[in-house]
Symmetry: C2
């Protein structure tokens, strides 16, 4: 038996998210089906991040055990000849038998993209949120500073009753702008349900002048999601990468 | 009667190109249908560039005449509430009655994108050509120099018998690289059928070492398409803009 780690990129447009659903095709169900066919044994992957319907990834991580003799490094190539074009394995390698994609210390990096211009661009509609009103990126940056570091993010998540703690650490939160595309790039040790999209929706309210940047400090204090902005739509979000911090 | 010019962006993935086809939906047929419904009279647009199936545009141009009283500037907004999400009008304005989108002097700018990396990226698959083998961008730039200026491009087009002349002028041909994406940006006074895609396919052969950069001069002399590279696939191509040069 060996444990194999896959790094997986996907266009989430046509999937009901990562996690297996009773109705509807998911990234997890596609991986399980094609891995089982390839390796000729029933495979069930464990995912690192259960992205929502419509959310994309360049580097989500899935782990599974197999008895198959195929070298771990070859699995990426073999899978890519079977998977649909909107899912592509970027890397496959063997990992220690006790490696778990969710219970290890990680750094996850997400990018939320906002297309801020007068008219939508059809060629970027699937990978960004079109926002018509001009956004003040400088104000969004000022607001972002309040969220970096360790905080209780109860105001910036949903389903908080499902987790033991809503405290998380954000290592960096950068608001980039290139031409008409604004990118919110956030790196942290873990994210609560809808957290990145609610951060994006709240920063959009700051950028449009609805909240002042200082409001973010007050918002964290409230510990109540009703005081934050909308959950920004899923297609703007991409999970860029998951770094596993080496055991020390 | 007034003549109206539309600047149109579209994701060509799901269309049989610009031009009306007996079977299949095209950009032209969608524009005609929705303009006719909006303005309550039969409208037939004239397009500037008849892009192929799968080719994208940020700024193609369509012109039509209408008796309707709606101000030309409002037509963009009204159309965008009717059109499918993969077509968006970027601008609408009135033009002189003798303005013709094809018979005026223009500068057209195209971008051909090549994703040059080890594994495909599903989130960019619809807007670039995935090419596995490493490309030498410096050599591609050297080759591109031979194509700038006025030349007979008979070697770099198909259906040359359908045009009076295969002489065209390329104002600039730049090979850009950002991370793993190579962009071939070409600006010229007109392009022959498949010309940008054959230029891209030939530059790819130079970048992979199959042709030396100097081969481009020889290729132009041959005036024979069989000596050029493949026609690169349509999804890598985007018509960026068409500049109409002011009458002097």
């Amino acid at each position: 038996m060996k444990r194999v780690k896959l790094t997986v990129a996907y266009d989430g447009t046509n999937y009901c998210g990562w996690q297996i659903q009773p109705n509807g095709v998911t990234i997890e169900s596609e991986l399980n089906r094609h891995l089982s066919e390839l390796l000729q044994e029933p495979i069930r992957v464990i995912g690192a991040s259960r992205t929502d319907a419509g959310v994309h990834a360049l580097g989500n991580v899935a782990v599974f055990d197999t008895e198959a003799r195929m070298p771990a490094e070859k699995i990426s190539y073999a899978m890519n000849t079977r998977l649909p074009a909107d899912i592509r394995v970027q890397d496959s390698c063997q990992v220690p038998d006790d490696f778990h994609p969710r219970f290890c210390e990680t750094r996850k990096t997400y990018l939320y993209q906002i297309l801020n211009r007068r008219f939508p661009d059809p060629t970027r509609r699937l990978y960004s949120y079109f926002y018509y009103y001009p956004l003040d990126v400088e104000k969004m940056r000022e607001a972002a500073v309040h969220l970096t570091g360790e905080h209780d993010f109860a105001s910036l998540c949903t389903h908080k009753e499902e987790v033991e703690s809503t405290v998380r650490r954000i290592y960096s939160l950068d608001v980039e702008k290139k031409d008409d595309m604004i990118g919110i790039r956030v790196c942290g040790n873990g994210f609560l349900y809808h957290m990145v999209r609610i951060i994006a929706g709240t920063l959009i309210r700051v950028g449009s002048g609805y909240y002042p940047p200082e409001y973010m400090a007050e918002l964290l204090e409230k510990k109540d999601r009703n005081f934050a902005g909308e959950t920004a739509p899923p297609q703007g979000l991409t999970l860029l990468k998951i770094d596993y911090l080496a055991a020390r």
